[in-house]
């Protein structure tokens, strides 16, 4: 019976069998696939799931010599200490402000650029604009930050253009604008490609119909173009939300300095300093874990909302 050959029969039988029997059957039938995916599963176990297990040092007073299991268990103490410090609020404020400002500036500018390129009559000029605007994407982050630092130091070209004579990045209030503007400079062209692709897939007949109804280009943009790219925008937005807590920490680390920690320090950079530089393993892991959990919560929330509102989900 168990060896029924017909597909429909075996599926029906399978549903009644206990889980382990079905699993065993699947493994015997597809042993070769399981064998070749084994190294991949081992990779994920070692380099992704092992660190998740390792994150329990956030609840300990971890001493490398004693190992994860041997270290003293302190429960939520590290978290309590962290939430109790003045620094927690600074980090939370900075992380959210930098991330959401970038998010809110990036999305409209990328979409706007795509629409403007799409409106060009000369396809050739459109290609030139596209090619040139996404070139900065290929300059490495270290080099872009190096350029920013060079241009904004006390005798840098941008500092001079604004008529200042102190390094702009020593002014805490200028960190956010410099961060966001340089980011938009580097990514806007690249980010617009995907919207351009979405724009070209909009049914051209819609525009023709609108034309007959007497809608001008502006109205066509509002009523056809924007709704047409909404699904793309939603999916990208959720994916960006998923990075809100971690996005750009590399860049902050390259650009900030002690004078502006108050406005530039984010969770990831704080974790780096406390963990790697001060070897404060447990405390910094607690900060990192808090960050990861918030991150996950944001993705799930964004996805749930999108599923309700647009029937769109990224999983």
């Amino acid at each position: 019976m168990a060896k029924t050959k017909t597909v429909i029969g075996s599926a029906a039988v399978n549903r009644k069998k206990p889980l382990w029997v079905r699993a065993k059957r699947d493994v015997t039938r597809n042993w070769d696939l399981y064998l070749i995916i084994l190294p991949i599963l081992v990779f994920y176990a070692i380099f992704h799931y092992a660190p998740m297990y390792g994150a329990i040092i956030a609840f300990e007073n971890y001493k490398p010599a004693r190992g994860i299991l041997g270290s003293e268990w302190v429960g939520l103490e590290n978290f309590r200490t962290f939430f109790g410090t003045y620094y927690f609020w600074t980090l939370l404020r900075n992380t959210l402000r930098i991330s959401f400002t970038s998010l809110l500036v990036h999305f409209p500018t990328e979409i706007l650029l795509a629409i403007l390129i799409n409106e060009l009559r000369s396809k050739r000029f459109a290609r030139v604009v596209q090619t040139v605007t996404y070139m900065p994407h290929f300059i490495s982050l270290v080099v872009v930050c190096g350029m920013v630092l060079q241009f904004t130091k006390s005798n840098g070209i941008i500092t001079k253009l604004f008529g200042m004579n102190t390094p702009m990045l020593n002014n805490p209030n200028l960190f956010l604008p410099i961060y966001v503007v340089s980011d938009v400079w580097q990514q806007v062209g690249w980010g617009s490609i995907i919207y351009l692709a979405a724009l070209t897939s909009i049914d051209q007949e819609l525009y023709e119909a609108a034309e007959i109804d007497g809608a001008g280009r502006f109205k066509q943009t509002i009523y056809i173009t924007l709704p047409g790219i909404l699904p793309t925008v939603t999916v990208l937005f959720i994916m960006r939300i998923g990075k809100v807590m971690s996005l750009g920490s590399d860049k902050v680390l390259l650009l900030y300095n002690e004078a502006i920690y108050d406005k530039a320090d984010v969770f990831a950079t704080y974790v780096y300093r406390r963990g790697i530089e001060n070897t404060d393993w447990s405390y910094s892991s607690a900060v990192g874990l808090f960050n990861s959990v918030i991150n996950l919560a944001l993705v799930v929330t964004a996805n749930t909302i999108s599923r309700r509102v647009n029937q769109l989900s990224i999983w």
Partner: protein, 295 residues
């Protein structure tokens, strides 16, 4: 096509002007770097920083000579090339195998495995546990610490999986009847059909390794092993003065040349990728379309 209204004509003009401005803004910072790098150091110091450049101030290759004399640029290129040459093939093979298996519909726990893998995109143990984990595996201090823990990028795996899913099932079934093993099916039948996606992933992984510096900062402690980006960070971000003493002895002159040297360093480290750019860009654009497929 109907005649344009007056408003639309005005819009068109402004649109072209605006996008032309965008082109200038995108390109000019890079041009400035080039002009500064080729300037005579002292002349640049006198006036270059104060105003926009439209050509080099004077002309001198002194800055480039100093850059090329610095051994760390070369060791940096060496490490980065090693990471690319060894890392990218590992990336591709691992990603292909994982994606192939996850794309096989006969596998009942396919969805469960996919979820396990997708979950790592949105949740991680955090920087410190990851760091300690890599150290526990004895990779600390080795360039392998930059290669093995990053063998698979989950997002790229999903792109690859989507490509495999689009190959018709009948090909696999036919090969199976001929007695081909799964690995034969993967490498002999599937791979040739997804070459464009593989090309895109090679580029994605290569750019990732080329750009990354943070992991190197965590795990590489000897200067002669630093990849290029970490060297660059030292030279143009941390204001290292390693360069200056090599070229002259007087302090004032040092400061002059150290300015233009930074620009020359940027040029030396960026030209290879920008030179390759015209050839690669069609793949990148294609790639981002592929990436648009949701996970």
């Amino acid at each position: 096509m109907r005649k344009l209204t007056r408003g639309e004509q005005i819009f068109n003009i402004f649109n072209v002007l605006f996008l032309f401005l965008m082109i200038v803004i995108s390109i000019y910072p890079m041009l400035y770097v080039f002009f500064a790098a080729f300037s005579t150091p002292s002349a640049y110091m006198r006036q270059g920083g104060n105003k926009l450049l439209f050509c080099p101030v004077g002309f001198s290759l002194a800055s480039f000579k100093a850059v090329f004399k610095n051994p760390s640029i070369w060791t940096g290129y060496g490490s980065t090339i090693f990471i690319l040459a060894v890392g990218v093939p590992i990336n591709i093979v691992f990603t292909m195998i994982g994606a192939y298996v996850l794309s096989r519909k006969q596998l009942r726990i396919r969805r469960f495995l996919s979820l396990l893998i997708l979950f790592t995109m949105y949740f991680s143990g955090g920087m410190i546990p990851i760091y300690l984990n890599v150290r526990n595996f004895g990779l600390d201090g080795s360039l392998w610490a930059l290669i093995i823990p990053n063998a698979i990028n989950t997002f790229n795996l999903i792109i690859m999986r989507t490509a495999f899913e689009e190959v018709p099932d009948s090909l696999e079934e036919a090969a199976k009847l001929d007695g081909a093993s799964q690995l034969t099916i993967l490498f002999k039948i599937m791979v040739p059909l997804v070459v464009p996606t593989i090309a895109v992933l090679i580029l994605y992984y290569a750019v990732y390794h080329w750009n990354s510096w943070f992991n190197a900062m965590l795990f590489i402690h000897k200067r002669e092993k630093y990849p290029l980006q970490l060297i660059l960070r030292e030279l143009i971000i941390q204001n290292s003065s390693i360069f200056s003493s090599e070229l002259s002895t007087s302090g004032a002159e040092d400061e002059m040349i150290s300015e233009t040297i930074k620009y020359a360093t940027i040029v030396v480290a960026t030209v290879p990728i920008l030179a390759a750019y015209p050839f690669l860009q069609k793949y990148f654009v294609k790639g981002i379309m592929v990436g648009a497929v949701k996970g």
